[in-house]
Amino acid sequence: MASPHPESPAGRLAPPLRLQSKPLRQPQPEPSLGEILRRNGVSRRGFLKFCAATATLMALPPSMVPAIAAALETARRPSVIWLSFQECTGCTESLTRSVSPTVENLILDTISLDYHHTLQAAAGEAAEHAREEAMNANQGQYILVVDGSLPGPDANPGYSTIAGISNYEMLMDTVKGAAAVVAVGTCAAFGGLPKADPNPSGAVAVQDLVKDKPVINVSGCPPLPMVITGVLAQFLTFGKLPELDEYRRPLAFFGQAIHDRCYRRPFYDKGLFAESFDDKGAKAGWCLYRLGCKGPMAYNACATMKWNSGASWPIESGAPCLGCSEPNFWDAGGFYDALSVPPGRPGEALLTAGALGAALGAAAGALGRRKVKTAGLAHQAVTADQLEQQL
């Protein structure tokens, strides 16, 4: 089957990686996105606007809007199954945290969210039934979204079950027919809080278990809602996996460090730092590095996309970035310790080792001194007679 949408400029921008299965289109009746919108009375200008917003959503430059429009015109709605495991629902909250319908919602309306046990009305066996139905109806086509980590195959499955099914079993069962897996949130992507030391539930990340399907990590605790929908929009629009970083995160959103896009960066460069949360520097909006900002090592889109419909974001609110989009961020040292500060108490190690070294050195030094003294005691005086024998 030929590629259903022509090679667009977006195709050049998008990565070579493609879904292993057939593109996210179904051979028959499903109407295309353009048709759906037009049926809903959306004009061409409205569609253009939708595309412009989608470009923003996908962190693509506005010049990509025509390409997006061309792609969306023919795109068809994919089926999405959403599994929630050891999570706090924060990711779902983030996704739905819109005061009123937005373009994100439009995207969500466009996808067919067939199973999301937090959002759906059905419960128990009926819900599971819905999942199985969706799986059967879209074998090899659906996108599996996971939020939350899950107890690994060797861990006690009792830590997290749904309808008596262990998370592990449900994931492995559902992933079989999926076209791709989107791990939403740091828990699903990297294990997150459940996996933090000492990891009582034996939590693992989705990518630790799913090896034969493409996995996209949308990390963050929670991720930006626009990033979640942006990744789905990318699927929807281009039918391709986005280009990923070493943690399988879409580069479009995770390609730059918070530090590199932070509006307070000029203060870092000038060496102007807030040193407490209420000092002069804090009030003047100076850099929060010394208050523990992990911006330099955190890769996320908060600095540009911001939160709460663009109202603000942590650093703008005066809080240092926690680096929540990074693996193991819970164990990466104190949230309010500067990035250069190591976890643990190295000072104690230093003191202990120093004391030990002093003792060892004293012993070694005593040996050396004894050697010198012994040599002194064994001293054979040099005499003129002895010297004369050399002449």
Partner: protein
Amino acid sequence: MTDAVLSPGADSVATGDTVPPAAPRVARPADQPAARRTAQPAPATRAGNFSLQRGLQALREEMDAPVAAFFSSCVHCGLCATACPFFVETGDPKYTPIYKLEPMRILWERELTLWGRLKAAVGLGKQVTDEMLAEWEPLLYDSCTMCGRCSMVCPVGNDIQYMIRKAREGQVASGHAPEGLIAASVRAVRTGSPMGLKWKTLDVQIKHVETATGLTVPIDQQGADYLVLLSSMEIINFPEYLEAITKIFAHAGVSWTLSEQCFEATNAGVQIGSKDIAATLVQRVVDAAERLDVKHVISPECGHAYTAIRWEGPNAIKRAYPFQVFHIIEVLDQLRAEGRIKTQGKETDRLSMHDPCNLARKSGVIQQQRDLMDLIADDFVDLKEHGRLQWCCGAGGGVSSNERAAALKMAAFKRKKAQIEAVEPDRMVTMCATCRTQLEEGLEELTMDIPVVGLTELIADHLVMPEPPPAAEEARS
């Protein structure tokens, strides 16, 4: 392990025996002879019972906290080379001062650092061999006057000359000291003078001085304030000195004496690097001073004699003196300050001065000679680098007694010559017989017509002499 390492036998691990990596960590004494035969062509013990073993033992004795700190700190920056006349004038990197201590450093690292001991335990790390000590002999003796200039410029603060002095102990004990210095040491112990000079010779000079001055040279005066020592080189080359101090002390009314028992101030033991020989020679001075019950001992115009008696002597005999030691220049300056020296007239030619290393840098006598010059010189100009940073004449530290070093000695002198040329003096003044001899010989060899004079004589030349000197009259009767 402690005992094994400390026993003389086990020490052979670090004595140049090549221990094969597979061999047990501690070589048993029984294993040694065979090992030594194969690894060491040099005889285990040479004449006088000197051996590598004994040399290393002597080096071990010399290890102390400063040595360890110095070796720990050297970063091979090579700045000490720029301070050394032997390197500067030859350009040969092997004359870099710190390099002259390599055997000592190897021994220190191997035996007195945990890291070195661990390396030695697994058969790694260098060892000091007899060949090495033989190879280093010229570096430690011929190309070093222990002038201490390197100790002044080392950025990490290494006192290199302090260690050279120590390293020479190992050379002597291993039988790797220069013949000239051995001979001088033997003569000094046997005859009381490194040049084999006897009291007889001095007595002739004393008579000569008395005739020339009409003054008496006091000998063995019990209870005199000052015991005056001389150096053989002065007695032979510069008899003017004795005449000069006889005049000056008479002029200033100083109570002084010579000792027939001990007139020699120099100490070949310090130069060759044997604290035993040094102690023997110092003890003679101390005995003479104590017998005559003097309050002070005056070291003559000789640099090393002063450091030997003033600084090293008490440590060689392991006790403080009941008297104080001064260099003649210190005494003269003291007299000047007290107004006891009256001079008339001034030298009008351009005079410059060579500070002996031992007097200036190594003993802190720097301003005194300049104050004295003010007294008698109109046109005095200092060499550019003088005092604590002066350049050595190239003959000290035993180099002048070491015939083998003659060529190097002259090479090193070129630095001094360049310094002198820069200020173009008519005459040079100094206050050390060795320096003076070197300056005279060097300037003559380089065909520079610049006479060298001793400061004491120069002062004596300008004394306002009362006629007749009452002190001398009394002494004569």
